[in-house]
């Protein structure tokens, strides 16, 4: 019987015939162990270096408790019109920034996809440019654009668009590379040219993915738009940082609740939109 218990000699014979099937040998295992030991050592050192002690964590906890106490009950304060304006501005910033990024990322995605652009050098360079842009955080872009175009939401929109266009382009390129070849072949066989193949063979497959990603980014950017305001790029963030400075934590709590509600509403809306446009 083939699945009967094996004798030691049988096991040895199989080990000699296919050593790869029996996992790593002693040396490879020792190396791995060494790697893990080095990692744990580094982790311990890093925690020690950052002063990661139970005492500090405990003290921090009591500081947080004080803030939480000050937050209850949340209050809109007297300048609640400013708060609502800031929130609307943040949502608008996030939408415009994501919309611009998503539009530009569609052609860039096609250019970065290996099954569309066969020139390796061009594609490789383009991908490295994406990587470069991705390496710079939204916040750095925001600081740069505040200097360039001045304080206000325009800097925020530009920061969101620039930071996201590279990420979306990369995600789009990957979606395009995962598109199924046979469907494209069907279009080719019917006499479709290069652009027709992209339009009718590839785009229908990847459009739902692109849309889903853009919607997710819109939601995520509404959250991060709050941070952009702190550095002067407009929106609700400015309102938050002003109130933290004067320790009006009850008003901060009100803004936070409002933001949570807004993000939830966007999430709900985008889920509906996705169902309508993609189906399922």
């Amino acid at each position: 019987m083939s699945a009967a218990p094996m004798s030691a000699a049988d096991v040895a014979a199989w080990r000699a015939r296919m050593p790869g099937a029996f996992g790593r040998d002693g040396r490879a295992r020792a190396l791995r162990l060494l790697g893990w030991a080095a990692f744990l050592l580094w982790l311990g050192w890093a925690l020690w270096h950052f002063g990661f002690t139970p005492e500090r964590l405990w003290n921090g906890l009591s500081g947080l408790a004080t803030i939480l106490r000050l937050m209850v009950p949340p209050s809109p304060g007297e300048l609640w019109v400013d708060i609502l304006q800031g929130l609307a501005e943040s949502v608008a910033m996030a939408f415009l920034g994501t919309f611009i990024a998503a539009l530009i990322a569609v052609p860039l995605g096609f250019l970065g996809a290996g099954n569309v652009v066969t020139n390796t050098l061009f594609r490789f360079s383009l991908r490295r440019v994406f990587d470069g842009f991705r390496g710079i955080d939204q916040l750095i872009w925001a600081l740069a654009f505040v200097r360039a175009v001045g304080l206000g939401p325009l800097a925020g929109v530009l920061a969101i668009a620039t930071a996201d266009v590279a990420v979306l382009a990369k995600l789009n390129a990957e979606a395009i590379e995962n598109a199924e070849r046979r469907q494209v072949e069907g279009v080719t066989a019917a006499g479709g040219g290069f652009l027709a193949r992209l339009r009718f063979g590839v785009l229908p497959q990847v459009l739902p993915v692109m849309l889903a990603q853009a919607l997710y980014f819109f939601e995520s950017n509404t959250r991060s738009a709050a941070i952009l305001g702190v550095v002067g790029a407009g929106g609700i963030g400015l309102q938050i940082s002003e109130r933290i400075r004067v320790r009006h934590w009850d008003e901060v709590a009100f803004i936070i609740l409002l933001m949570v509600a807004t993000v939830a509403a966007i999430d709900w809306l985008s889920a509906r939109l996705r169902r309508r446009m993609i189906g399922g």
Binding site: M1, P5, M18, A21
Partner: protein, 288 residues
């Protein structure tokens, strides 16, 4: 690989009859399986035939408990397995290995690991944790898997991903996975419906080999009467959830087929053929 005679004898003793008593499954208003009573002695190779929607798949899936019976009982060696839970259920599933039409291998895992999945229900305690974390199966289990693959000419593919294999090869890997479970019976649900005739023969030969050489009970759903007649000791024909014929392959003559299904055997075969193509095509696309 040779087996000590006393082991084989001990296994035979551990196996018992499979009994289905009034087994029924409802989907809404329709009865997919309607009061099926069946006794399968150990070591038999039973072909279950029937047209599309006759309830063959549901019957097999209920035995493995992938589908829950609406009523009725399943007895294995006198033990009721209808209401098993937790570990007892997992061990029963280990004892009745399933082979699927679409192979159900994990495409991104290598062939060896796919076969070793048959050992999962055998792991206990510390070993189970080692297997979960690092797929640390023992050297003995690995050798068992390689021997099983070797038996069907697949030892050289052990370290390839399952997705690189052809359909016929994948189905043989699935049979190896079943063997590694060291089961009492093998349930094969349309095992050759997605294969070309030559691969279908290889896979059916493998199932017969498992039945003859290992002495395992095999229940196989088929929609080709010829295949069932050629390979099985006994044929059970289903129609609308009921068993309408149960006997030796020789007794299922062309007249009997016409009497049961109201169509000739050629029409039956053509219908099966068309359904096979319809079933195989979208499934392959979905997998790609």
């Amino acid at each position: 690989m040779p087996v000590p005679a006393k082991d084989a004898a001990a296994w035979m003793g551990a196996r018992g009859m499979l009994e289905l008593q009034g087994l029924t499954r409802r989907f809404g208003a329709t009865l997919a399986v309607d009061h099926v009573n069946l006794e399968v002695p150990a070591g038999q190779m039973v072909g279950v035939i029937g047209r599309s929607g006759a309830g063959k798949s549901t019957l097999l899936r209920m035995i493995n408990r992938l589908a829950e019976p609406s009523s009725g009982r399943i007895l294995a060696g006198g033990r009721d397995v209808t209401a098993l839970q937790g570990r007892a259920l997992r061990e029963w599933r280990r004892d009745c290995a399933m082979v699927f039409q679409q192979f159900n291998l994990v495409q991104r895992l290598d062939v060896l690991t796919n076969v070793l999945i048959g050992r999962l229900a055998w792991q206990r305690g510390w070993r189970a944790a080692m297997v979960l974390v690092g797929a640390r199966f023992t050297a003995e289990e690995r050798a068992m898997a390689l021997a099983a693959l070797d038996r069907f000419g697949l030892a050289e593919t052990a370290l390839q991903r399952a997705e690189t294999l052809s359909g016929g090869q994948q189905q043989r890997v699935a049979i190896c996975r079943a063997l590694l479970q060291q089961p009492r019976l093998v349930l094969a649900d349309e095992p050759i419906a997605s294969l070309d005739p030559r691969n279908a023969q290889v896979v059916m030969d493998a199932l017969r080999d498992v039945n003859r050489r290992d002495g395992l009970t095999v229940l196989v759903n088929l929609h080709h009467l010829d295949t069932a007649r050629e390979y099985c000791d006994r044929i059970v024909a289903m129609q609308a959830g009921k068993v309408v014929f149960d006997g030796l392959p020789g007794a299922l003559t062309a007249e009997r087929v016409r009497a049961i299904y109201g169509i000739s055997e050629q029409e039956f075969a053509a219908e099966a053929e068309a359904r096979q193509r319809a079933a195989a095509a979208p499934a392959r696309l979905a997998m790609a």
